[in-house]
Amino acid sequence: MSVSPGMSVSQMSMAAIQWVGFRTIVIREYSRIVRIWLQTLMPPAVTTTLYFIIFGSLVGRRIGPMQGIDYIAYIAPGLIMMSVITNSYGNVVSSFFGAKFGKHIEELLVSPLPNWVIALGYVCGGLIRGAMVGLVVTAVALVFTYMHSHHLQVHNLGVVIAAMLLTSAVFSLGGLINAVFAKNFDQVNWIPSFVLTPLTYFGGVFYSVDLLPVWAQKLSLVNPILHMVNAFRYGFLGVSDVSLASAFAIMAACVAALFIWAIILLNRGAGTRD
């Protein structure tokens, strides 16, 4: 039951308040993504185009096939996933920290919405941005692979969607936790620059871990992004360096652990309440 004319909020069930509140956060996040589309949707398209031109077309021709697949098609899933990761993270960290910085996070903190609804709303914003950017970058990938006469196949659409959503959720939650801790804009950029980018580049976006020495292969398995990229690549191409089951288990565990951590931080009022 949602509030209707003549009915006061105090007469509504808390579940109804939470449902409307959750939808409102999601609508607000979606509106923000669309309103500033030049900052949110265009840059990944441009960056990925450059990757495809340089690594796919120019360098890729000399590299040859990877795991039996032409290099430009091989890197396409990784590049899509790289955009999903950075944009999911970036959306939540900038939106939540911006709200903290501008103090309008208080609009949510004084409302009857519990912290898990607030966290879920922001994570959904990250998922929407991740999905929208994923679609844009996939369109770019389709153009480049088509130009090279290698259609980007979809081996298992369910795996593609599940890997994308779980990965996006992991990094949306990461962005939320970063934003909770951040006290200034520098601290918003530290994790993407010094953690996310190296992990992504060493996460098998551009290569198969089979090319690495044994010790580096073992070390790479510690990197959760390797599992995410490979699960996603399996969905498109049917090849993977890691077990699909362990990849999904790692993603699900990361989502659960980060969600619990985020809720503990918000309940404690870390970075949000005095």
Binding site: S2, V9, S10, A16, T24, H104
Partner: protein, 305 residues
């Protein structure tokens, strides 16, 4: 029923500051209540705890019978807050800001849009509904925060310095609006540094200082306890010397202005007679300071002493 009931409320910040040292306070449903105090007295901390922006160290808070420890969501759904600092997204439009705020309290978007029109019109912001909030004037921003706080039609409206930096014309129109809201049944708690505002609007008052409530009374009772009052008299002709007015403390502010302090038992007629007998003609007179301001200063100064 108590709109707000606070018991033994304490707050110690991480830096060791004891902002609240055991506050007990009840605000009746339907009241227009003033919460006054000097800077740093603990007003904003108290409001912060009631709105859950500040975590309490001890004590209990109840809002319309909902204990904030057990029914936080229910208690918060009864409250609308107009904070001291501007805290909306400057890059959104007033309409978006108020409609979203309603949504955070469970109001569906269709109804929220209707209420947005109602409150933005009442607060003279309807013409500005599509403009970016950053471009609004200071007074408009303050009114936007009032509209936002009313979108879920709260039973308790808390206003923390709502008219700070607002010109007198807008301030008076905001007073009228708040009076109307209160007459319609909304309980209002107001903190302000404009004591004239509190005296004009509020029926009950609490004065907080040093983290404690030092006075809690009806506004009229508190003002009755003011035993003396000072008046300034503007004179037609310049004075050569201070006139002798038996039984009154008299100060010559300048050669055309006299300050006279009188107790409640004394009469203004007697002062006029004494002045007239000495050939002193009065052009006008006024209170030296607002009555509540005088009482407030005495209470706070007594405590400091």
């Amino acid at each position: 029923m108590h709109a707000l009931s606070v018991r033994g409320l304490t707050k110690t910040y991480r830096n060791g500051v004891h902002a609240l040292k055991g506050i007990d306070l009840d605000v009746e449903e339907g009241d227009f209540f003033a919460l006054l105090g000097p800077n740093g007295a603990g007003k904003t901390t108290l409001i912060g705890i009631v709105t859950s922006l500040v975590t309490k160290s001890g004590g209990t808070v109840g809002v319309f019978g909902h204990d904030m420890d057990r029914e936080l969501g229910r208690a918060k759904s009864c409250i609308g807050i107009v904070p001291q600092e501007i805290n909306f997204n400057m890059f959104e439009s007033p309409e978006t800001i108020v409609v979203n705020q309603a949504g955070f309290y469970g109001v569906e978007r269709g109804l929220a849009r209707e209420r947005a029109e109602k409150y933005l019109r009442q607060l003279h912001l309807w013409d500005k509904r599509k403009e970016i909030a950053r471009s609004l004037s200071g007074g408009m921003k303050r009114r936007l925060m009032i509209a936002r706080a009313l979108m879920h039609e709260p039973r308790l409206l808390i206003l923390d310095e709502p008219t700070a930096g607002v010109d007198i014309e807008i301030r008076r129109s905001m007073w009228e609006f708040l009076r109307t809201i209160n007459e319609q049944g909304t309980t209002i708690i107001l903190t302000t540094h404009y004591l004239e505002e509190a005296e004009n609007l509020c029926r009950n008052i609490a004065i907080i200082d040093g983290g404690r409530i030092i006075e809690r009374d009806r506004m009229s009772s508190l003002l009755r306890r003011l035993h003396t009052e000072s008046f300034l008299f503007s004179l037609r002709d310049p004075l050569a010397a201070l006139p002798r007015l038996q039984g009154y403390r008299t100060v010559m502010v300048d050669d055309h202005t006299l300050e006279i302090e009188m107790s409640k038992e004394q009469s203004l007629n007697e002062i006029f007679s004494l002045l007239s007998a000495q050939g002193i003609e009065v052009l006008s007179m006024r209170n030296k300071v607002n009555r509540l301001e005088e009482m407030f200063m005495r209470l706070v100064e007594n405590r400091a002493a």
